[in-house]
Symmetry: C2
Subunit: 343 residues, 2 copies
Amino acid sequence: MVSSPANVQYLSGFNGSNGLMLLAPSEAHFITDPRYAQEASETITCKVHIAKGPLALEAAKIIKRKRFKKIGFEPAWMNMAEHGRLEKALPSRVLLHPVAPFLEDLRAVKSPEEIALIRHSVNANSEAYARTMKRVRTGLRELEIAAELEFQMKVLGCEKPAFETIVAVGERTALPHAHPSLRRLQANELLLIDMGATLDGYTSDMTRVLFAGKPPKKVRDLYQAVLEAQLAGLDAVRPDIAVSQVDGAARNVLKSHKLDKQFVHSTGHGLGLEIHETPKIGKLQKGVKKKDEIKLRAGMVITIEPGAYIAGFGGVRIEDTVLVTERGCEVLTPTSKELGGVV
Amino acid sequence: MVSSPANVQYLSGFNGSNGLMLLAPSEAHFITDPRYAQEASETITCKVHIAKGPLALEAAKIIKRKRFKKIGFEPAWMNMAEHGRLEKALPSRVLLHPVAPFLEDLRAVKSPEEIALIRHSVNANSEAYARTMKRVRTGLRELEIAAELEFQMKVLGCEKPAFETIVAVGERTALPHAHPSLRRLQANELLLIDMGATLDGYTSDMTRVLFAGKPPKKVRDLYQAVLEAQLAGLDAVRPDIAVSQVDGAARNVLKSHKLDKQFVHSTGHGLGLEIHETPKIGKLQKGVKKKDEIKLRAGMVITIEPGAYIAGFGGVRIEDTVLVTERGCEVLTPTSKELGGVV
C-alpha cells in the first residue's frame, strides 16, 4: 500500500492531493476521490477505483475481494488514526506490516528522463531569478521581491514554488528560514534569496546573496568564507563518497574561518519530486556506523548549500542544485556565484 | 503532545514548519530545531527547547525528566514511524494515548481577533481578484492568470496562496480541481477561478465564474441554477442547524434543476488557520446518527460553494467565505456574484 503522495506520483504520474496505490505481484490498483475521476481515467494506466469516503477504506474492500493476506505499508505516511481505521475494516487474518522506505531509495537515483525534467526546473528557476533581478531596487519590500520571483516562475510555466520563497534583507538574513515580510531593502544591506520551482512535478533549489551598494570587508569576508565552503563541498561530490564526508568538506572550511558554530544546518539534501529527498548531506548521525552510511551514487541530484549566520548582523548561504556524475558532479544551476550587487 | 502544525500555531503563534508542544496542567513546552531558534526565542512565551534531532525524541527527554506518566497524542498527526520511535525512547511505564481532536473543535469557533484576521484575508483575496480582472483578456494562459492573482496577493501582504490557485477555461472548468495549464482563454469560453489567500496565518476562499463574450442560454441556465443553490445554502446558515441540512438546502436546488448528479463534492468547509477545518458542510455520513451531527455555532467561519460539472462542456462553482452570526450569517466575501464578463 503506497500512501506517500510523491511515491504515488513516481509510480503513476498522478499529481493530485488524494491518491493511494495497492501494488501486488501481478496487478496494481489506483484509488482516488470523485474530484479526480476524469483526470485519473485519462492518465492512469492501471485499474482505477473512485472512492466516496476515505481511500484506505476503499483499499480495504479491494484487499478483502482479492484475498490479499499481508499488506506492507509506509509507516512515515500512515498515521495512527488511518491505521486504526484500516485494522478495523480488515479481517483479522490480514497482516498489516510496516516496510522500510525502499521507494525513496529507488527515487534517489534519477533516470535520464527525470534528470532532463530537473534541468528544466533548475533553468526556469534561474531564469525567474534573472528576470526579477533586473527590477530589484532598494525600497522594495521582501514580500514584493518574493511575489515577483514567484510570478516569473509561473509565467515560465512552473506549477508553483517548490517551497515558500525566502527573501530576507539586512539582519534578517541571519534567519535561515525567514518568511518574507514588509521590511524594505535599504542601501548598504544584505539581500538573501532562497528559491525553488516545481515544473512538471520536479523541483529545483538555489540560494544567492546580494548587497545593496559596495560591500564592506566584514560582508566580503563572510561571503568569501561561505563560497570557499560551497566550492569545497562541490569538489567532494563524487560516487561512493559518504554523505558526511561531503558535509565535512564544507564544514571544515567554515571551521578554519571560525564560522562552524554559525553553520546551523546540514550541507544539503536530495531533491526530485520532493524538495527534500534522500540523501541528507549532513554529519554522521549518532548510532549510525560509518560503514552503514549513505554514499553518493551517479544519478543522484542534491543541493550543496553551506551558510553562516551572525545574529543581529546577517547571514550568507550559497546553494546550487547538483547532479552526481560518474566522475564527480555537474553543477546544474547556471546562475553566477559572485557576490551580486543591487543597482 | 501537540503535533498538528495548525494546532501548534493556534496555541503558540509559531508558523514555522517544525514545531511540537507538550502541554501539562501547569506548564507548557515548545520544541523546534536550530533553524527557528532566534524566531522562537523572540515570540514564544512558554519554555523553548531547541532539538538537534527529531522533535519527538526531545519531547521524550522532557517527559522522562518531568516524570509525566500519560501522554495524549493526536492520532491523525502522529505517523506509525514516529509512534514507534517515541515508544522506544520512553520507559514502559509511560502510556501513549490517542485523544480525540478537541483542539480542532475549539478552533472551529473563532474569537473576534481571529474573525478580524479572516476579514483581512478575505478582503485581500477579493482585492487581488479585482486587480487581476482588470487585466484579464482572451489569449492569456491559465497559468498567467494564476500567476497574476498570486502576485497581487503577495503584493497585498499575503504570505502565500491558501491553496494552489485554480484557473480553468473552457471544458476544463468541469474539473473541480484543475491545475492551471498552458491552455489559453478563448472567446466564448467559461473561465473559473478558485482562489484563497493566507494573511497573518489566516485563510480565505472564493470561487467566481466568468464568460468571455455573451454567454449562451446553456451557460446562463447552469450559472443561474448554481447561484440559486448557493443562495439557498447561505439562507440556511444559522446557529444550531445541522451541517447536512445546509448541504441539503443547496443540493435540493440542484436536484430541482436535474443537476444533483453533477454536484460531486460537499457544499463547504470550515476555514481558519487551515483552508479545510471542521465542520465539513456535507451529506449526513453513514454511521452518524442525526442527533450526533455537527451543528453550526455563531463564530464559525465556513464556505458555501455548490457547483455543477458537465464533462466535455464545462462547470460552474460559486463560493463565498461566510461568518455564522447569532441570527444567521454574514457573507464576508465582497465580490459580486453576477456572471462576470471578460472584456
